[in-house]
């Protein structure tokens, strides 16, 4: 058994920022399923939005974010995000982030989708990477206790409040109880429920699923972002920065088809709009063979491409055998970001006393129904900082809970049920179930949805759950039991896939990234609210409506 005042789960941008910003003297430990520098935050390319420019304003950033989110974002949270942005960017600068620079030495900014101004601070096209590594450096400087390769298994609840965490330590192969006053979940998203995703293998939503099982409320799980430009086949991300720097989308006939869908913003319309437009082109027979369109950078010139977009040049070359300087890149939309997550307030508190959440794991609802490029990286550092600063107060207000008893006994019972002394299920495997889950989600819970297909998806996922429950692993606590990790991850993916499909089935309107062919219009009278999901007594999700904070911008029609 271990104990710390504060435990952070997740070593990406949010978790590291929180660890760095926690009050000095607080005993903070950071647990991460992989080494922090391996976190998927590092794969983010485009940049961090902040209204720093002379012509730009916090007000404009708030408006773009609210409109981009199709009016589902909580405007009080958006205001926090946008107004704290400039200060956080300056603070990152002092920490040592190697931003790309303007001639006068200030951080350079570029345009990303849905923004009225060049607003994203960046470092070429490795913006997430450089900030991740800088925050890792700062965490070392601050003496944060790091526990790499510890996998979250359960959150232990006694009398409705946090009593501790159960984590699996990969190096020893042992399960450990970790006691703490407060815990912050900063465990990232769950893109791996989809077959086509930009997310890394680790993005399996463990934090979100485990919190849900412990009784936390999830919100807006039907809102899934599909990034317009990923390499066809591998779905490796090609940053929106490619279009921010002036790249064009072209169909098979070479037309810049975005003029049909978003004549003003063209390629820099929000991602939901661009992804739907691409699929519309393909559906109407104007795509390339194999269901792609082209991202054309050739007119930007070699020098600009290599200076501003070196990583994607390399990625296109290596994984698609294309030289973006000379030829267009075949791309297709793929899952990229989870707008939904654990419902939290502005102090990052969940509905469970002692449990906080921030970043992609959480839903404070700054993104609403569709996130703008550059706002998720901003969210990680703004809300990571807020969570970190709140940890002191949260820990001071909460004595260390007594050692968990009943909750631990229950959790150990569930743990043992994963194993069997006999052979594994002979005809089935986690890999086969995962493959089926991924295909169902991509085929039936994707960019274009219908009630019929969502209903089919729910039935398929329920059947997969039954198959999963029959799987058994060979016993034994072995070091680096990655078979066990993948088994646990699959359980989380199935849980989150079911809620995503269920929430999407329920919402009979189209808003932001949630597009229903059978209900193609936004319906504010019935649906201008968050979808809240909690786990019912029978283990199935129970949905209800939650209010949206609307402080300054009443909903309008959303055109680009």
């Amino acid at each position: 058994m271990l104990f710390h005042d504060v435990v952070i789960v997740g070593g990406g941008l949010t978790g590291l920022m929180a660890a760095c910003e926690a009050p000095p003297g607080l005993d903070v430990a950071l647990f991460s399923k992989i080494y922090p520098t391996r976190s998927h935050s590092g794969a983010a390319q485009g940049g961090f939005n902040a209204a720093l420019g002379e012509d730009d304003s916090v007000e404009a950033h708030i408006f773009d974010t609210v409109k981009g989110g199709d009016y589902l974002g909580d405007q009080d949270a958006v205001e926090v995000l946008c107004s704290e942005g400039p200060e956080v960017i300056r603070s990152l600068d002092r920490m040592g982030v190697p931003w790309s620079r303007r001639p006068d030495g200030r951080p350079a900014q570029r345009s990303l989708g849905g923004a009225g101004f060049p607003r994203a601070c960046y470092a070429a096209d490795i913006s997430g990477h450089v900030v991740l590594h800088t925050l890792y450096e700062r965490a070392l400087a601050a003496g944060v206790r790091l526990y790499p390769e510890w996998h979250l298994v359960e959150i232990l609840i006694e009398e409705g409040a946090l009593a501790g965490l159960l984590l699996y330590h990969l190096a020893t192969g042992r399960l450990e109880v970790v006691r703490c006053r407060v815990a912050l979940l900063a465990a990232g998203g769950y893109g791996r429920i989809f077959q086509k995703t930009t997310n890394g293998h680790s993005n399996t939503g463990d934090g979100t699923a485990v919190a849900y099982r412990a009784g936390a409320v999830l919100a807006d799980m039907e809102f899934v972002q599909f990034h317009p430009t990923t390499l066809t086949g591998s779905n490796i991300l090609i940053s929106e920065a490619a279009r921010g720097e002036g790249g064009y989308l072209r169909n098979a006939a070479g037309e810049r088809f975005m003029d049909r869908y978003a004549p003003q913003k063209m390629e820099l319309a929000p991602r939901d709009v661009v992804s739907r437009s691409i699929f519309q082109e393909i559906k109407e027979g104007r795509g390339l063979d194999g269901g792609s369109v082209n991202l054309d950078l050739t007119h930007l010139g070699r020098e600009k491409i290599l200076r501003q977009l070196p990583q994607i040049t390399e990625l296109a070359h290596r994984y698609a055998a294309v030289d973006p300087v000379r030829e267009p890149i075949p791309i297709e939309p793929a899952q990229h970001y989870s707008m939904g997550g654990i419902r939290v307030n502005l102090d990052c508190e969940t509905t469970i006393p002692g449990l906080l959440a921030a970043g992609e794991t959480a839903n404070v609802s700054v993104h609403g129904a569709n996130r703008l490029g550059g706002n998720s990286l901003l969210e990680t550092v703004v809300f990571g900082r807020r969570a970190g600063r709140h940890l002191g107060k949260a820990a001071a207000g909460r004595p260390l809970p007594p050692p968990p008893r009943a909750s631990l006994a229950d959790a150990l019972g569930r743990w043992q049920a994963n194993f069997s002394a006999g052979p594994r299920h002979p005809d089935d495997s986690a890999a086969a179930i995962r493959d089926a889950l991924n295909r169902t989600m991509t085929d039936k819970v994707g960019v274009f949805r219908t009630g019929e297909e969502l209903g089919e998806a729910m039935a398929e996922l329920a059947a997969l759950r039954t198959r999963y429950d029959a799987l058994r692993l060979s016993p034994g606590e072995r070091p680096f039991n990655t078979e066990l990790i993948e088994h646990l991850e699959l359980g989380c993916l199935l849980e989150l896939g079911e809620i995503t499909a269920g929430a999407a089935f329920r919402r009979t309107e189209s808003r932001g990234a949630h597009y229903r062919l059978d209900h193609p219009h936004r319906d504010d009278a019935r649906w201008l609210h968050h979808t809240l999901a909690r786990r019912g007594a029978d283990g199935r999700a129970v949905y209800e409506a939650g209010p949206v904070s609307i402080t300054r911008f009443p909903p309008q029609e959303r055109g680009y």
Binding site: Y35, H40, G42, G96, W99, A124, G200, G476
Partner: protein, 215 residues
């Protein structure tokens, strides 16, 4: 096409020594070594290796492929093998093998601490960095801490290779209070530094070109 992965297997609970195990796998022209490792794990779920981003930015999947250390996700099979070949894969050379392809990374990360691996921000720095200074930081700041240089290069001076890269990235940062004095931390001669700078780009998965500092 088909080839055989010859993978070093080791389970500390049952094995005295590592031993290779053969995994015949199909492959296609566009695939990476990581794709094949994932296929091998589908045959045998007990095979342990690390991976995450699958696009060369997280550094998890550094292993020895054939005769040298590389990122599995960044290595196209066709670059290292032909149809029918046997391709050996092991943990990073010189690292302790914890299990199968999983190397002990703790000493690697701990070695960074030797060079004070963070910007010691000058208290009066105004937050402006010229594009020229930013350009000097850029290449070493692409380091993903994968461990390949530590596996492939002999120690030079008193800092490990990855720590040396970090040290140089910080030494050229105009915000840093130590700046060029950081070179003393590495205990490296000018000749040793030149050799290191020449060797690094060809084996580093990010092709890092180190800036010239105070030589």
């Amino acid at each position: 096409m088909r080839l055989t992965l010859n993978i070093s297997r080791f389970d500390p609970q049952t094995d005295a020594n590592p031993a290779p195990q053969a995994y015949p796998v199909d492959w296609e022209r566009h695939e990476t070594v990581l794709d094949l490792l994932i296929r091998a794990r589908q045959q045998d779920p007990s095979l342990a290796f690390r991976r995450s981003c699958r696009s060369g930015i997280c550094g998890s999947c550094a292993v020895q492929i054939g005769d040298r250390s590389r990122l599995a996700c960044q290595t196209l099979v066709r670059e290292v093998a032909a149809d029918g070949d046997i391709l050996s894969i092991g943990p990073l050379r010189g690292f302790r093998q914890l299990r199968d392809l999983v190397a002990d990374m703790d000493p690697f990360f701990a070695a960074l601490n030797r060079v004070v691996p963070w910007v010691i921000t000058l208290p009066d720095h105004a937050g402006l960095v010229s594009p020229e200074d930013a350009a000097r930081i850029e290449s070493p700041a692409t380091c993903i801490l994968c461990g390949v240089c530590d596996a492939e290069l002999p120690p030079a001076g008193s800092a490990t290779p990855a720590a040396l890269v970090k040290n140089l990235r910080l030494a050229v940062d105009p915000r840093d209070a130590l700046g060029a004095q950081r070179l003393k931390l590495a205990g490296l001669t000018a000749a040793g530094m030149r050799t290191f700078r020449e060797l690094l780009p060809s084996l580093c998965p990010k092709g890092i070109k180190l800036p010239v500092v105070g030589e």
